[in-house]
Amino acid sequence: MTFKDLGCGLRTLLRKRRAEDELDAEVRGYLEALAQRKVESGLSPAEAMRASRLEMGSVDAVKEAVRDVGWEHVVESIWQDVRYALRRALRDPAATLACIGSLALGIACTTASFSVIVGVLWHPYPYKGADRMVSFSVVDSGGNGVPLQLPIAQFRSFRTANVLDDAIGWDLWTMSTTDNNGIPESVRVGYLTPNALRFYGVRMFMGAPFTKESLDYSGQPARQVILTWDYWQSHFSGSPAVLGKSLEFDGQPYTVTGILPRNFAPLAPLDVDVYVLLALTNDLNSVYMISGRLKPGVTTGGASSALLPLLRQFATETPNHFPRNFRVRIDRLESALVHRFRATFTAVFAASVLLLAIACLNVSVLLLARGTARAHEFAVRTSLGATRNRLFGQLLTESVFLSVAGGCAGVLASFGIIHLVLHWMPAGELPQEARIRISVPILLFATIVSVGCGILFGIAPAQRFSRGRERLNMQFDMRGAVGNQSTRRLHSLLMVAQVAITLFLVTGAAVAGSAVLRLYAAPLGFDPRNVTSLGLSLSEGSFTTWSARTQYYSRIRAQVAALPSVDSAALSVLSLPPVSRYFVPVRVQGSVDSGRSATLQIVSRDFFRTLKIPLLQGRIWTESEEANAAKLAVINRRMAREFWGDAAPLGRTLSSDGLQSKNVWTLQAPSSNGCVKIIGVIGDIPNDGLLQPVLPALYIPYTLLTTDSIQILVRTAGASEAIVRSVRRQVARVNSAQPLSPIFTAEDHLKAEGWVREQFLAVLFLIFAVAASLLAALGIYSVVSYSVSQRLKEFGVRMALGASPSNMLWISTRSVARNLGIGLFAGALLSVALSRVIALWSQANYVSVAPLISAASVLVLAGALATLIPALRARNMNPMDVLRSDQ
């Protein structure tokens, strides 16, 4: 294209009237000159003009040929097509809405759910080499795993193992501090080996990481503290002035060196406020949790066998830390998450894909139905001189217009839905680090699939308008006022197919949804309502004798329980459901079976009453037994069943190394010998997260093994915010310097562990179900009402010939009812077949009648409305008006 060409085109576009006038003058001048010459050769002016017209052909055709020379003509005709498409879209808002809405919802749901899956399962952690990060467990012969914990001496040689890139040691405890008002408060402290920040590859939000990076030192390192973003925000309002300041934890000054970025939470789901360096002692009894990163290319299986000899050697040094005949299990950081979410996300994704399929189906059927009914229009236009390309171009423009509008709406809606999901997603549901953002590839995929589908089915009718049939169609519609037979047959077929497939898809989505909901609808086994938990940590070096400490705890509990608004108060160490993280090896006395483990839960006798856990057999220890540290225990039903089967567990004696103190912070009763007698069996409550099966649990009196921090659980009669202040006052009455850690309710705790997931998923699937039904209804409505409106002429003729209104209604309802019926039947058959397949695959019974029936009734309702509205309208119309109108 030359500049001149460009200029000409632009001039033509801008001064269209003038260009058209000039063209008209030129062509007419040509015609006149032609006629003039014929007059000169002897014809009469009229004859000359006629002959000239015949010779030259249609003036408009010549003009069109001249216009075709310029590129601007293409722009013109596209613009015309777009305007025409817009007018058509506005004339039939229901169909337009169905198309655009279907595409938008389909794209948005697929993209949003897939983006969440990608965010959580594929790239959940922003750490360096996160896909190689692992946790280590030692597994006993009974298959029960305990997290690997090592003393520093062993850790030093462990991290140099040749399958490991690096490893860190960590611990978590609370220290006391005072808040800005001087009120004692607990702070949750993460202790890290100095290499940890480099291990995670974290870049500080502000300030510097720990100055020490080597593990050479021993004893207490420099007292530096790094704040988490949240703690910095909540305690220092995000002020940069805190850097370099000195904070007092447990009476010791710590210098603030840095602030972590917002989403750094490697120890999640454990909450941490601040991080300090771990004190490295040579005491083999001080053990720390271990996390590591494998070398690239090393499998978890390969690493476990490579590490086993080293750990066996450790086990000879410190036999108490390892069960007998253990093996090593290595879990990738991601695998826990994948495991936890796989079923959920598969179902959500399946539902979204089904929704996308419904959307595509809607658009396809609608465009096909509308396109095929336009044979008459196209026949007229062809006979007026429109080329095939021109008609094709117009169909293409219309379908591109609809599809692209739907696609744009879909992209916008995707961002909206992602935003909503993140807003609604319960806290703790996803790791804090997971960054969920729109997955561009899937957005492109969904958009291309649906837009492509729209375009494909939009231009498909062009195939029908082959030259031979155009004339036929035109004659058909001109002669008889009755709609084209073959078009009607096609519409019926489309309607049946749409009903059947929609019913199938909606049922499929419902099956997927109910499968997941069932997964989460397990009974809790206890009552989390109106239970508040307060943490209480002793400052280091206080209450170091067993009797002083147990009496102190007992007095605090008694003071709190004495409050009139308190129903019951209990003490518990680290064991508020649904998690307990303290596993111990357990041996049944008089049994050869060894190497089993259970979670140890250290509680006061009121624990069961406070959480309303039912006692199934035997009894709970008495108050005096608790005060005297009687060697008694209560087990959960799961443990009774796993350890003794049908035999009675009561009166049996268990022994465990875990019942004896291994460090200076935990005091054991003077009478303790590592044995307890079982006196009761209580109901199961979740203790390994909500989705995992309940683990065997052993409950012992807190007097038997007394730690330096404990939880006070308080059950109040009703929801009571004032209880916190009262409890603080009661505790202060015993010891005014005693800090209490942040307060949370048992319900909050459950929520943090994913309890609200059930509600969340239910809402999510409800949204899906509503969206799917809406789409299905919209699709059916637009197709049915379109095909009924196509028959308006026929109705006009029938009414003119004397058909009664009720007769009309019956005629219009009959064919739709038949199509709906066939469609529903086929859809139901498909759904039952699907249920069978799923049943085979998951060995569960998923024949779900309710969704089938509700989906079917939505479709019937939509079909009925779509039939009745145009039919009733037709009834009130003058038959002549209907006949004259060019539908």
Partner: protein, 116 residues
């Protein structure tokens, strides 16, 4: 008789004929068609549906210039004339055509002896 429409013209020949016609004198659309018909002694008859688009295309390619003038019958008509580029184009087209037609003539007059 050759096909009356320009479809019978060798592809691209119409452009050359228009250029040559206009090299003689500026003409309006019908005049060009008539002149081609006259000079070719009725062998080439050019239809408006081919001629007018060709004129517009050549004008766009900067080979022709146009202006509105009165005809001998005192009508307004759009007169086309050759531009500088058009003259150059005509020269090269003529040279090419002569080469090609001479070559075709040689091929058509070839005798079996010549290829021995």
């Amino acid at each position: 008789m050759v096909d009356k429409t320009s479809a019978g013209l060798v592809q691209g020949t119409l452009d050359m004929l228009i250029l040559k016609t206009l090299a003689l004198e500026p003409l309006h659309g019908y005049g060009i068609g008539l002149r081609i018909e006259q000079i070719s002694k009725g062998v080439f008859q050019v239809n408006a549906g081919s001629l007018l688009p060709a004129l517009h295309r050549l004008e766009r390619e900067n080979l022709l210039k146009s202006e509105w003038r009165d005809t001998e019958n005192r009508r307004r008509a759009k007169y086309y004339r050759l531009s500088k580029a058009g003259q150059r184009k005509l020269k090269s087209e003529t040279r090419d055509w002569e080469m090609q037609s001479a070559a075709i003539a040689r091929i058509l007059s070839a005798t079996p002896e010549q290829i021995r």
